[in-house]
Amino acid sequence: MSEKPSDTEILEGLAEIVEEVAGVATEDVTAEKSFVDDLDIDSLSMVEIAVQAEDKFGVKIPDDELANLKTVGDAVKYISTNA
């Protein structure tokens, strides 16, 4: 993306990725949701989501950072800060 995306745009983009990879309806992907506990996403799917998010938002998400992204909101904040 040429311009830095807004948090809303990041959330929408993440929701599309989560829907594609894990089949969670986009409207269920909201900031307070935990990837593991609320959205039932396993560690393998998290890797796929991270790779797709890197491509979509032009960020790097190293494994030690990925481990800290517990909620959708955590991911939005990380991408917003690092994009």
Binding site: V21, G23, S43, L44, V47, E48, V51, E54
Partner: protein, 415 residues
Amino acid sequence: MSNVDVVITGLGATTPLGGDVTTTWEALLAGKNGIRVNDKEWVERYDLPAKLAAPLLVDPTDVLPRVQARRLDRCEQIAIIAAREAWADAGFELPRDEEAPVDPERLGVVIGTGIGGPVTLLDQHELLQRDGLRKVSPLTVPMLMPNGPAAHVGIELRARAGVHTPASACASGAEALATAYQMIQNGRADVVVAGGAEACIHPITVAGFAQSRTLSTRNDEPERASRPFDTDRDGFVLGEGAGVVILETAEHAAARGARVYGRLSGYGMTSDAFHITGNHPEGVGQIKAITNAVRMAGLSPTDVTHVNAHATSTVVGDIGEAAAIRKALGDHVVLTAPKSALGHLVGGAGAVESIITLLSIYYGVIPATRNLENIDPRVGLDVVVGEPRKVELTAAINDSFGFGGHNVALAFTAA
């Protein structure tokens, strides 16, 4: 003789003739053909001499939810589809929350495959080479591993008594049923979900089989290409498919009032120790497998009146099997060769053909062998041709043999 009475209470399959057991069985009785011209562009790109295949009639990605399908190799997809059908056919609900219809500690899974997920392996290798590490799926290993189909079925149906994967090439599906039978006889399980699956139609497998000169090249006549026991046979047609059955102790089945298709009463499993692909000239391993199955079932050779033959339509294999059957059982048995319609489902073959054998016993009808116009005089046995044959069966054998010299015979008897 075995001490536990083992019955079959559920059947599931997806094959080149149909997306389920009923469609497959009815197509087989109607004499339909599952073999097609392989229209993939790579057939011409590599100038493959064998231009035929027996693809699934119903694509598994049209059956499974999208997200589940993308996490599974095609071989895993079809094992799950066949297992769900068999499970429901046996009258079980899927496990949910705390409720499981079969005690998980007493439920096993045995699903064999010849090769597992080579298409995933090759696709992911291509991604690695082209786009680098990041594009390799984290699901690569669970998708390509040959125990993947069995493991996924075990998770879905909640089986904790053991999940196993026999790999004996084209005998894998039959070996799975024999292994399941052992699990029950050994007291490890009351119910076992058993079968085989294969989905490996890919340029490298077709090229490899073609180079071993085992595939039919009757490219202009797909419907006539697979012709077991016929004088003009020239090899098998590679197919894809899965079959799964529910094996259960008769006691467990009776306690819940389950419908019983028939019994698995014995098996024989031997090995040739001769050649990696070739048949033993005297067929001693095949004869012994059949003989052992009959003996374990407490039968005499004259009790067995039908053999669902392995008969792949190769020049050497079909004749060797016919000779082994004559020696093991006598010349009274009636044969059929379902690969004439289904093609060769490799690791799925023994399981799908076991289902056909069981249905022949259950309904008292043997499907005809397609394309048997001039029987090879060396067969020396009655092979059903033309119309299906109505005949009451009390005991039948299903033969399955695999590259490596694996010989499996299963003895099924009427309920």
